[in-house]
């Protein structure tokens, strides 16, 4: 098991390196960018850039310095704000995104698995159709459509929640954003769970379990659940990664001061180094997610023992 884990971890390094290098080089090629002599920045910003990126050294040395900083956890300096380093900006924004995103995924997992199970057991019934409809809606409508609609219904018409904004982790402002993310994720998780459970229930070993005279409840909980959950586990990775995308949209829609908003503002401002630092950070997070999912999958499936 451990050797499998180690190998998986080692396998992620080329990906990270590739992403970092490509982005870094892209940045170097940008006219008007931080590495171009034509850049128009204030003296203070220039000083920061100089300190962090060693602008007067040859390219390969700059690159190595950059990798070194990254390994020490230093994401660089902002191209626009002299007073803030990227790390400082991230430190303020990360908790917001983590709470909203992380909380939403956990809730969505519970609700999604539950709904998917019910739908699978009551196939073709009213409950099933409702769950499938929900699944289709969450999947087909883009998040930036559902979001404003939620605001319209709950904030403008019903006036039970604020339309956006943030007040230091006050729950009122977390409800609608979480609702949006939960809705989107439940759509996918529910559909996958339903399909997977239906398929498992048709397998030969379930037929054997029924032939043994076991009650349905035992069959579902002991025999069917674990194999049915495997596809759900395998989509958590992509789901978490798409949560990052959803987070960007959600934070824009609800004006939340998270990482997503930071990236968007950075892009709008052409704050190249900020965006670079954030891209690196999020890629690391994404790759780590994938890794954890792979390891969880290996834990659950006894056939995978390398």
């Amino acid at each position: 098991m451990w050797s499998y884990a180690l190998r998986r971890i080692l396998a992620t390094i080329p990906t990270l390196l590739a992403v970092v290098t490509v982005c870094y080089l892209l940045l170097h090629a940008t006219p008007g960018g931080p590495f171009d002599d034509e850049r128009k920045v204030s003296a203070a910003v220039l000083a920061n850039l100089q300190a962090k990126y060693h602008l007067d050294l040859p390219l390969w040395q700059q690159y190595l310095h950059y990798l070194n900083s990254l390994l020490h956890g230093d994401l660089g300096a902002s191209f626009r704000y002299a007073d803030w380093s990227v790390n400082e900006l991230v430190a303020k924004a990360l908790p917001v995104s983590a709470v909203i995103g992380g909380g939403a995924i956990v809730i969505a997992l519970f609700v999604g698995v539950l709904l998917g199970t019910i739908a699978a057991l009551r196939q073709n019934s009213v409950v099933d159709y409702l769950v499938m409809l929900l699944g289709n809606a969450g999947h087909a409508f883009p998040s930036f459509v559902i979001g404003p609609v939620l605001i319209l219904v709950f904030a403008v018409w019903l006036k039970v929640a604020p339309a956006g904004g943030w007040n230091d982790f006050s729950p009122r402002f977390m409800v609608l954003p979480m609702l949006l993310l939960v809705f989107i994720n439940v759509a996918t998780i529910g559909r996958v769970m339903r399909g997977s459970l239906i398929e498992v229930l048709h397998s030969n070993f379930i037929r054997t379990a029924r032939a043994k005279g076991l009650p349905m409840r035992t069959i579902i909980l002991r025999h069917a659940f674990k194999p049915a959950l495997l596809p759900v586990v395998s989509i958590i990775g992509p789901l978490a990664i798409s949560s990052i995308t959803s987070a960007i949209v959600t934070e824009s829609v609800f004006s939340l001061p998270g990482l997503g908003k930071l990236i968007v503002n950075g892009a709008a401002n052409r704050d190249y180094t900020l965006v670079l630092g954030l891209v690196v950070l999020v890629t690391v997070i994404a790759v780590t997610f994938n890794l954890l999912v792979d390891l969880t999958y290996a834990l659950l499936d006894p056939k995978i023992r390398y």
Partner: protein, 334 residues
């Protein structure tokens, strides 16, 4: 009262192409220690009949008739009642041991749950009893192996595990649906021997479904030959083997390849298995039968005792005489 009595069992399926009658008019009775072999090609309805008895039909399937176990009709029972009998008094083993065991649970878990549920045993005693049974089916080092997962066993061993699992509650009836089809020949022989020994020791009645006549010859007292969901010939094994009285059975027996044959071509029954959605009004075998005439295609022959042997029943319009002449004229390897 017989242990198992099946009366006029039928199975139909609701499909996009309409109602399909996969099984029609199955009757048999079985007592302790007896073995019935159900023989037929793929799609003849042999599996569906026993699946119906065990309440394991697909959602779109519907059984008719009666399947009596000690007088109680299995087909009419509610799931909770049926569950007390399934796995306990009447057990079933399946064709493919690879997929019939749950790959995510240990063998121990899959065996002990049967005893826990049906006999109320605690986990420890259930485990001990399970190991005993694994020893009985000759799984080496059973006490250690029981904690393993199914994929850590070979195909033949998995089938033994299935058999052990089925016998945990000492059932009176064991239904085996093509238990050796997915295994290679040497393993087949071992499994058949195992079943025979267990029958001798436990007195279990066995219903053996197979398309392999060799298996039938080695194990069964009674044989039922199915085609197109209907019984073609039914009776004691010796009579059917040595003096088959139905053209289909003759064809089946003739198709068995033999090492001492002179020619080197294989014989097959010409034609293809029937399309169950479009069966002829009469005998389902009429499309491929050498002796068929218009009456055969239009009128369903009844299952009646053979003229020369009351122990055998056959569904054919032609006389036993006509069939024997056919055997003499044509290729006969019986």
């Amino acid at each position: 009262m017989s242990l198992i009595e099946v009366k006029n069992l039928g199975v139909r399926f609701q499909t996009q192409d309409g109602l399909i009658y996969a099984v029609n008019g199955i009757n048999f009775a079985l007592d302790r220690g007896q073995t019935l072999g159900i023989v037929g090609e793929s799609g003849s309805g042999k599996s569906q009949s026993v699946l119906a008895m065990m309440g394991l039909l697909a959602r779109n399937g519907q059984a008719s008739g009666q399947a009596l176990y000690q007088g109680q009709d299995l087909l009419a029972m509610k799931p909770a009642e049926l569950n007390k009998i399934r796995g306990n008094r009447v057990a079933m083993i399946f064709q493919d041991p690879m997929t019939s065991l749950n790959p995510y649970l240990t063998v121990e878990r899959q065996m002990t749950e049967v005893l826990q549920f049906h006999k109320g045993m605690d986990r420890k005693s259930a485990r001990a009893r399970s190991v005993e049974l694994l020893d009985a089916v000759k799984i080496p080092d059973a006490a250690r192996r029981i904690a393993m997962y199914p994929h850590e066993f070979s195909g033949g061993m998995r089938q033994r595990v299935m058999i052990a699992m089925a016998l945990l509650c000492e059932p009176e009836v064991l239904i085996a649906d093509e238990p050796t089809t997915a295994l290679d020949v040497t393993v087949q022989a071992q499994i058949i021997t195992l079943l025979r020994d267990l029958q001798r020791d436990f007195g279990t009645a066995i219903v053996m479904i197979t398309h392999d006549l060799g298996v039938v010859a080695g194990l069964c007292d009674e044989v039922m030959v199915l085609y197109g969901g209907r019984v073609m010939e039914q009776g004691d094994a010796d009579s059917i083997f040595y003096s088959a009285s139905h053209p289909y059975t003759v064809g089946l027996l003739g198709a068995i390849p033999r090492l001492d044959a002179e020619d080197d071509l294989l014989v097959a029954i010409p034609g293809a298995p029937p399309n169950m959605a479009r069966l002829p009004r009469g005998c389902p075998f009429s499309e491929r039968c050498a002796l068929a005439d218009a009456e055969c295609r239009d009128v369903l022959p009844a299952l009646l005792a053979a003229e020369n042997n009351a122990a055998v029943r056959r569904a054919c319009h032609r006389s036993v005489q006509a069939v024997s002449e056919l055997v003499a004229r044509g290729v006969s390897h019986a």
